[in-house]
Symmetry: C2
Subunit: 344 residues, 2 copies
């Protein structure tokens, strides 16, 4: 049962590593022609997410084709609101759209706390299949959206530039907001623990819209729910990625997590100072991969130097953009794998 390559797990736990491990957010997806071939045979994005054999297949692609140090289960953070009773459609060019949104206490009451082995069985089956197919080559990462981000989608009904509707709800309906966030948190804890039961070797929580909140609103409605998740999901290393919330780094570092993800705006040295004892993940600007090979190598090496070899999991500062050439992604990955840290 021992993993052949457990670099990412060791890096997350702060143990010694021979080299910096690497994976990419959105590595299983539109950058790969092999993904697009699978996707084109499906009715829509949701059918791919909900068909374990296919989700497993595209999860394995970047391991086989790009040589990353971890697989991340192909899924979506919106499976949770869906399982709680708010179905969504992924509209090409627009993003997710929810038929109904949360407006009242009645709406919150109507939401279920899903049983993962029933309503989210398709994700867990995909994880079980992927673990079998991976055959212990690399770890498998499970994930979920952070409560605030899921809450935002439930209130807004889709993406937004400012998320002012969701933020307004926090200010005008704080009690109800806490009730909804608690319900999402409970569902998320059950879901992440079920992913671990199914075989996930580590988990990441994506707080994609953390950066739209003020520090005080995030301290009230964001961090406390991440804390509950960190305290109740305990068996594997955990990564928190609160995009844009540079102001919350210190608070996140006080939580019971192993790794903190950094976006491409964050200063590494500053982040190191604010997060003692944590592993950091990131944070190359995804647009660097639009550049030529020499520039990708130069900037990737500069990033590796900034982080040092200990307590770093290399990644981009955000998901890889769909129109990135796979060859450029390989340059990024190979540069990291071949880099000789001066400390070693």
């Amino acid at each position: 049962m021992k993993l052949e390559n457990d670099l990412i797990l060791r890096a997350a736990r702060g143990e010694e590593v021979e080299r910096t491990p690497v994976w990419l957010m959105r590595q299983a997806g539109r950058i790969l022609p092999e993904y697009r071939a699978v996707r084109s045979g499906m009715r829509d994005f949701r059918e791919l997410v909900e068909t374990p054999e296919k989700a497993c297949e595209v999860t394995l692609q970047p391991v086989d084709l790009l040589g990353v140090d971890a697989a991340i289960i192909f899924s979506d953070i919106l499976v949770i609101p869906d399982a709680m009773g708010l179905p969504y459609a992924m509209v090409p060019g627009t993003g997710p759209v929810f038929e109904q949104t949360i407006k009242s206490a009645k709406d919150v009451d109507a939401l279920a706390i899903p049983d993962p082995e029933t309503e989210l069985k398709y994700v867990l089956d995909a994880i079980r299949m992927t673990k079998k197919e991976l055959n212990n080559r690399v770890p498998l990462i499970g994930f979920a959206g952070a409560p605030w981000t899921i809450f935002s989608y439930m209130i807004e009904g889709g993406g937004s530039k400012t998320f002012s509707k969701a933020r307004k709800f926090l200010v005008t309906e704080p009690v109800l907001a806490h009730q909804l966030l608690s319900k999402i948190t409970e569902s998320t804890i059950n879901y992440l623990n079920a992913q671990i039961d199914a075989g996930a070797d580590m988990v990441q929580v994506f707080d994609s819209w953390a950066g739209v909140l003020s520090p005080s609103l995030y301290a009230e409605f964001g961090t406390p729910y991440l804390k509950r998740i960190c305290d109740e999901v305990t068996r594997v290393p955990k990564t928190l990625f609160a995009k844009g919330a540079y102001f919350a780094l210190k608070d996140l570092a006080s939580l019971n997590c192993n790794t903190i993800g950094l976006d491409w705006q964050m200063d590494v040295q500053n982040a190191r100072e604010l997060t003692p004892g944590k592993t950091l993940q990131g944070n190359l600007d995804p647009v660097v991969l639009y550049g030529d090979e020499a520039s990708i190598v130069r900037q990737t090496e500069a990033m590796l130097q900034r982080f040092g070899v200990r307590r770093h999991i290399a990644n981009l500062g955000h998901g890889v953009y769909p129109d990135t050439e796979p060859e450029k992604v390989k340059v990024f990955i190979e540069t990291i794998k071949e880099y000789k840290h001066t400390e070693l």
Copy 2:
């Protein structure tokens, strides 16, 4: 010619003030029923922007109705790309949409450096009318978009979540990007100087999309063009508002500007340390104005305490949201006007 209320100008120059001055980004706009009445008589948003009598009328409304310490000319940052040869339409619910975008060197060459008194005369006429109607009661603020933000619209053709197309252009076409940014910068300098000739008492440059760039890309494609503007627009106090670019505060503080705008995520004490000798503007979270009166008073006073009375222009951390009640905006303004700083 002396202004009856020049608090904002004094605060910008770091001089003593009896109390903190206040205005709001987007104060002339949809929050006021009086604005909506004028707007409903026009064909579209652009007609309002391009009709000096009407632009003047809505510019004056917040001075008369809300009691702010400055007027800001009612206009849009997109008048510059429009005057350079890229017309836009403001599509309700979507935002600005450009018919053509910039793709090649030929497209950049085809752009004009507009003569403000010809192509942007409607803005200058609106400023002249407003100055006359204001009759020196309060200062009038002129403004323009920052080169990077205007560049983004020219490449993307509208808003975007990640502005990855515009950012990709910086990486793949750096020489052409610099040419385009230079051309926008030259147009902007002429435009701001013409606004000052027409009567603007201070100017603000809005870098709305600064926060999507990495620190290194912003240092190469953002700040240098703001520097040119600051060096060539010299007769009135200048404010730079680089939304989301907390990483650039130190660099902005090295420029020849008076005031730096802060969004609602930025920590005031940290910003003070990074910007010695500058006045700061901001930065209450706009969603605070969705709350009840007691909470608005409490949070506004806390903001005033954090900044202190010197070198502060009170504002929100972003434009006021259109569905904010005018009465709530008045509570914000009155709290600031009545607040007794302990230093005084």
